[in-house]
């Protein structure tokens, strides 16, 4: 597994650049991944990220886009604007959780 440097931290990532161990995640990781995706994190982004982290901690699986829009109360249009070019994968990567397994 490749290793990535985040400040003082050295963390394992998979070949697609996702954190291997979601427990390794820190807000600095989110900042670093977001920057790579060309996204500057605002409070609204953090609402999504925090929701996804909490969802994963509680259920052991990543929320789908629909579960984020309904659960976090973020309209579909806004979520796609916050994370342009495919929120399903981008949100999961930035929040340090696996890709969602559901279809909707």
């Amino acid at each position: 597994m490749p290793v990535r440097q985040f400040g003082a931290l050295q963390l394992e990532v998979d070949n697609e650049g996702y954190l291997v161990n979601p427990k390794d995640w820190t807000p600095e990781v989110a900042e670093a991944f977001a920057k790579e995706e060309g996204i500057e994190l605002t409070d609204r982004h953090w609402e999504v990220i925090n929701f996804v982290r909490k969802y994963y901690e509680e259920r052991g699986q990543s929320p789908t886009i629909r579960q984020i829009t309904v659960g976090a109360g973020i309209p579909t249009k806004e979520l796609f604007k916050l994370f342009p070019g495919g929120p399903a994968k981008k949100v999961a990567r930035i929040a340090g959780v696996p890709k969602p397994a559901g279809c909707i």
């Binding site: 629909r66 829009t69 495919g86």
Partner: protein
Amino acid sequence: MSENRKMAFICSKGNLDMAYPALIMGWAALGVGVDVTIFFTFWGLDLIRKSRVDKLGLPPVGNASMRTGMMGFPFDVGIPQLVGVLPGMTAFATALMKSKMEKLEVPSVREMLEMLHDAGAKMYACKMTVDMAGLKKEDFLDVVDDIVTATEFIEMTEGAQIVFI
């Protein structure tokens, strides 16, 4: 995922079970950054008609996959076609499918169309079949971008992977 990947879905069927494939695959595609266009033609127009979208049905006749197991019975045998034609069977099968989808938290067709629209999918009604059915722009849901000819659709989906349903 390549930034330029494009997919186009042609929805030609108006039954409830044939409404979902394009909507679900289209939604999945948008989620990973794929550009999505949907063209509704022939019976597929029902999916985007204000008067029809909430009334799509699942007729059991002529469907060999429609077995008792699907209906929630503990045994799995085929349902005779003659049973399928009985009054109320389409309503029964439709209600059953809707309740199963609801349990899986799958949104209604109307809601899925709105989700796709909000996520940036482009949706078009086929001009020839719209004219054939005597319909107008106002008969369709607001998520429909335009009524276009087959030629226009072919031109606007250049380079896209096309899925016919």
